[in-house]
C-alpha cells in the first residue's frame, strides 16, 4: 500500500492533475491496466535480455513476404534461430504501367518479415544473388553491436556472409542495407522488419499484417509510364515522387486489400523505411485501441494517428465493429492522394447500424483506385492497337481513368466547384471547342476563363504523365457525359495536342 502511494506521488510530480485522477480511479479497478504500478517497473532492457545459451535443435526462421507475418515462435526457451535472407535486385511495378529497379531483401519491398524471441541466438546468413550489380549489407536495429550487423555482412554479388547475434531487447525493429550510398540503397527498397517477441509472447489476435512505408525518387513524374530510374537529386532534396505502402501503388488496394471480419482484433506491424520522410500513420474510420509506440514495450490507448520515424516502427491493435473499407494513409495527406500512400483494410460481416449508419467512404476519398477495375483501360488499349477501338470502349476506359485523377477536383459528376474548379458537365467551354479537352489535360491551364457564365482563375497542372490513348479516352468520356455534345477524340488528336504548347499552359508539377 505504501509503495503504491509513493508511485502515485511520482505520477503526480511528472504528469500533473490529470494523471492523479486517473490513478485514483485505477485504485478501485482490477489493476491490470498498462499504467498499473507493477507494469511501470522497467523490463531491464538488454541487461535482463540474456536467457543463457540456446537450447534444443536450431530452428530455421519462417520468413514471410508482406503483408503476411510469420506465426508466433510459441517457445518458452531461448533457441538458436537460423535466418537466410537473399538480396535480389529486380524490376517490379511501382505504379500502374510504371516500373522501377528495386533492391530487395528477399525479393519484396519491404523485405521478408523476421520473427524471433527475446534471448534467441540468431545466426544470420546474407546471400547476395550472382546477378546483383551492387554489394550489400544489413543493419538490423534489433542487434546489439557496432553497425548492427553491417560491419559483419558486407557481401559482394554472388557471395554470402554470416554473423550471429543475441536478440537482447524485445521490440519491433527496422532492418536496412547500410552500404554506401546508404540513402540510395534504402530508397531502392532495402528495408524490412524484425520482431523480437517478449519472453511471454504478444497477446493473441485474430489477424496480423505487415505494412511498411517508404519514399521513392524517380526521374519521371508521378505515374509517368515506363521504366523509371532513380533520381539522386530529388532524393537529396527530400522531394519524393512516390510515398508508398509496401513498395508499389496498389500493393494494398483492390484484390490485395488486407482482409478481416467484424468482431476480430487486428494487429498491424507498421515500419517506415524512409529514407527521408516521417509517417503520420492513420487508419481512416478506426481508432487504435492500443499503440506500442516505436515498437517498444508499453502501449498507449485510444490513438488516432501515430508518428513513425524513418527507421522506426510501431505496433497497433484495434477491434473491428463495423464492416466496410478502412483506408490506411500517411495523414500528411498529399502523400496519400498524390503520391500513393494509401492501402485498404476490408472488414466483412453484418452491419452494426447502432454504431455507424453505414455509408461507404471509399468513393469520396479514393475514386476507383480502391477497386481493380482498370480492365476497361487495358481493353481499350488493346483495341486501339488492333485498330478496332469503339466509342463504347473509349468511354468505359475514360470513365475509369476520370475517376482516378480528374474527379478529385471536377467531381465524379463533372459538376466542378463553382468559382474554383470549372464544371465539365453541360460546359459551353467544351461545346465551343471539344479539342480543348486533350489540350488542357496535357498542358494544364492557368489564367482567367469563363465557363457557363461563371469566371474562373485558377491553375490546373498538366497531366502529361497520361498516354495519348488515355488522354483520348478521358476526353471522349467527358464529351459523351453529363449533357455534353458527344463525339470522339482520337489518339492522333491527343498526340497533336501534346506536340503544341498553348499560351495559357501551366508550369506543371
Amino acid at each position: 500500500m505504501q509503495r503504491r502511494d509513493a508511485l502515485t506521488l511520482l505520477g503526480l510530480a511528472v504528469s500533473l492533475v490529470l494523471a492523479t485522477t486517473a490513478c485514483d480511479r485505477r485504485d478501485t479497478d482490477t489493476g491490470d491496466a498498462p499504467t498499473d504500478a507493477s507494469a511501470q517497473t522497467d523490463t531491464g532492457g538488454s541487461r535482463k535480455g540474456d536467457f543463457g545459451p540456446p537450447q534444443g535443435e536450431p530452428v530455421k526462421a519462417v520468413l514471410t513476404a508482406p503483408p503476411l507475418v510469420p506465426p508466433p515462435t510459441g517457445r518458452n526457451y531461448p533457441a538458436k534461430v537460423v535466418v537466410e535472407l537473399d538480396v535480389v535486385e529486380k524490376v517490379m511495378p511501382i505504379s500502374e504501367g510504371v516500373e522501377y529497379t528495386f533492391w530487395t531483401f528477399g525479393g519484396t519491398v519491404p523485405g521478408s518479415f523476421i520473427r524471433v524471441r527475446q534471448g534467441d541466438t540468431v545466426e544470420f546468413h546474407l546471400r547476395n544473388m550472382p546477378d546483383s550489380k551492387m554489394p550489400h549489407n544489413i543493419d538490423l536495429h534489433g542487434v546489439t553491436g557496432p553497425g548492427g550487423g553491417a560491419t559483419s555482412s558486407f557481401t559482394a554479388p554472388g557471395h554470402r556472409t554470416q554473423f550471429t547475434f543475441k536478440a537482447l531487447n524485445a521490440g519491433l525493429y527496422v532492418y536496412h542495407c547500410a552500404t554506401a550510398p546508404v540513402g540510395m540503397h534504402v530508397a531502392n527498397g532495402m528495408y524490412g522488419l524484425i520482431l523480437v517477441e517478449p519472453p511471454e509472447g504478444l497477446p493473441e489476435v485474430d489477424r496480423e499484417y505487415y505494412v511498411m512505408q517508404g519514399d521513392f525518387y524517380t526521374l519521371g513524374k508521378y505515374r509517368e509510364k515506363g521504366l523509371q530510374g532513380f533520381d539522386m537529386h530529388k532524393a537529396i532534396d527530400e522531394n519524393p515522387t512516390y510515398v508508398l505502402f509496401n513498395g508499389s501503388e496498389g500493393a494494398l488496394t483492390g484484390d490485395k486489400a488486407l482482409k478481416t471480419n467484424v468482431d476480430e482484433t487486428v494487429r498491424l506491424y507498421v515500419g517506415n523505411g524512409g529514407p527521408n520522410l516521417v509517417s503520420s500513420f492513420h487508419v481512416i474510420g478506426e481508432i487504435f485501441d492500443k499503440v506500442w509506440y516505436e515498437g517498444g514495450t508499453r502501449y498507449q490507448e485510444n490513438v488516432q494517428t501515430t508518428l513513425i520515424p524513418a527507421g522506426g516502427a510501431a505496433m497497433m491493435e484495434f477491434h473491428m465493429e463495423v464492416p466496410g473499407s478502412y483506408v490506411l494513409v500517411d495523414h500528411s495527406l498529399f502523400r496519400a492522394f498524390n503520391k500513393g500512400a494509401l492501402g485498404i483494410l476490408k472488414a466483412e460481416g453484418p452491419e452494426n447500424k447502432a454504431i455507424y449508419s453505414g455509408l461507404e467512404v471509399d468513393e469520396v476519398y479514393l475514386g476507383d483506385r480502391a477497386q481493380p477495375n482498370m480492365a476497361a483501360v487495358a481493353t481499350a488499349a488493346a483495341s486501339q492497337q488492333a485498330g478496332e477501338l469503339t466509342l463504347e470502349q473509349q468511354v468505359e476506359a475514360g470513365k475509369a481513368l476520370f475517376a482516378g485523377t480528374c474527379s478529385t477536383c471536377h467531381m465524379p459528376g463533372g459538376e466542378g466547384m463553382e468559382g474554383v474548379f470549372p464544371p465539365l458537365a453541360k460546359s459551353d467551354y467544351i461545346a465551343n471547342d471539344p479539342l480543348a479537352l486533350p489540350r488542357v489535360i496535357l498542358h494544364g491551364l492557368q489564367g482567367p476563363i469563363t465557363v457557363n457564365g461563371t469566371d474562373y482563375d485558377s491553375i490546373m497542372p498538366p497531366m502529361s504523365q497520361l498516354t495519348d490513348d488515355e488522354v483520348a479516352n478521358i476526353s471522349t468520356y467527358v464529351l459523351n457525359s453529363w449533357g455534353n455534345p458527344g463525339g470522339r477524340v482520337t489518339k492522333a488528336e491527343a498526340a497533336q495536342a501534346r506536340a503544341s504548347t498553348p499560351a495559357n499552359a501551366s508550369a506543371g508539377h
Binding site: 529497379t101 546477378d131 550489380k133 559482394a156 554506401a180
Partner: protein
C-alpha cells in the same frame, strides 16, 4: 554550335595524341598524359591533388577471346587447374569448357568471373599491369569531350543509371560506346573493373563509419574516405571493389591493363 566545337576538338585531339605517343604505345592501348588530378577519395597520407604519371591504358576491357588465348598459353590459369586460393570456384564458370567461352561468353564480350589474381597474371603476361585506382579514376573522369566531367550532373546521372540496372541480361560487346576524350571506351556502363590496389580501398565494411572510430582497421595509405560526397558514382565503385577479396569473381566484374610510359 557547342556540339560542332566539341567535335572539332575531338578530331584535333585524336591525331595529335597518336602522333606524339604513337611510336611507344602498343596496339589496343591509349596514351594518357596524366598530370595533377583531384581524386574524389581522401587519402590520409596524400591530401589534396595527386600526380598521375603518364601511362597507357587499354582502350577496351579484356574480352573473352583475349582471355581464352591467355588461358591457352598459361594452362595453369584454366578453371579446372587454378588453385582455389587464386580464384574462387566460380572463376570462368560461365564458359562452356575450360578453353571454350561458348555462347554465354561470346568472344567480343568483356571477360567476367575473373579473380584479381587472374587479371593481374593476364596483364603481367602482356608485360603490363593493372591500372592503379588513381589511374583508373583519372581516365574515367572524362566524358566524350572533357577530361574532367565529374562536376556535370548529367554525366553522373548517366553513370548511376547503369549502376541501377540489374545484370540479369547478357553483357553487350566491348567497344560499343563512344570513346571518351582520351580515346578510352567502356569505363562506365559495361562492367566493374579490377584495379591493382583495390585492396587498399578499404572503406569500412560499414560505409557509414568513414573518418570515425575504428581507425586501426586502416593504417597508412589504406585510410581513405570521400572528399566529394556528392560523387556517388565513385563511392559506389569503391564500395563494390572493397567488398571483394582477391580470389573473388562476379558476373559483372572484368578488367583492363595499363603500362608505364617513359
Amino acid at each position: 554550335m557547342r556540339v560542332a566545337a566539341a567535335l572539332a576538338m575531338l578530331l584535333l585531339a585524336a591525331p595529335l595524341a597518336a602522333e606524339a605517343e604513337g611510336s611507344r604505345v602498343p596496339e589496343g592501348y591509349v596514351a594518357m598524359r596524366g598530370g595533377d588530378f583531384t581524386t574524389a577519395l581522401r587519402y590520409e597520407d596524400r591530401p589534396g591533388r595527386s600526380r598521375i604519371a603518364p601511362f597507357a591504358l587499354m582502350q577496351r576491357p579484356v574480352t573473352n577471346a583475349q582471355f581464352r588465348r591467355f588461358v591457352q598459353a598459361h594452362p595453369h590459369w584454366r578453371r579446372d587447374r587454378v588453385p582455389r586460393a587464386l580464384a574462387e570456384a566460380r572463376y570462368l564458370s560461365h564458359w562452356e569448357g575450360p578453353l571454350q567461352p561458348g555462347d554465354a561468353a561470346q568472344d567480343a564480350r568483356p571477360v567476367t568471373w575473373v579473380s584479381w589474381f587472374a587479371a593481374d597474371a593476364y596483364c603481367q603476361a602482356q608485360g603490363a599491369r593493372l591500372p592503379t585506382w588513381g589511374e583508373w579514376e583519372y581516365a574515367a573522369a572524362a566524358d566524350e569531350t572533357r577530361a574532367d566531367a565529374r562536376g556535370d550532373r548529367a554525366f553522373r546521372e548517366r553513370i548511376l543509371a547503369w549502376y541501377a540496372r540489374p545484370s540479369d541480361t547478357p553483357l553487350p560487346r566491348a567497344g560499343l560506346q563512344a570513346p571518351n576524350v582520351h580515346g578510352v571506351q567502356d569505363l562506365h556502363g559495361l562492367v566493374w573493373e579490377w584495379t591493382e590496389d583495390f585492396s587498399s580501398l578499404l572503406v569500412s565494411a560499414d560505409n557509414r563509419q568513414q573518418g570515425d572510430a575504428g581507425r586501426m582497421e586502416f593504417c597508412g595509405a589504406g585510410a581513405l574516405s570521400m572528399d566529394d560526397r556528392e560523387n556517388y558514382a565513385v563511392l559506389m565503385r569503391v564500395a563494390m571493389l572493397s567488398s571483394l577479396g582477391a580470389a573473388d569473381a562476379t558476373a559483372n566484374l572484368g578488367f583492363r591493363c595499363a603500362r608505364d610510359l617513359p
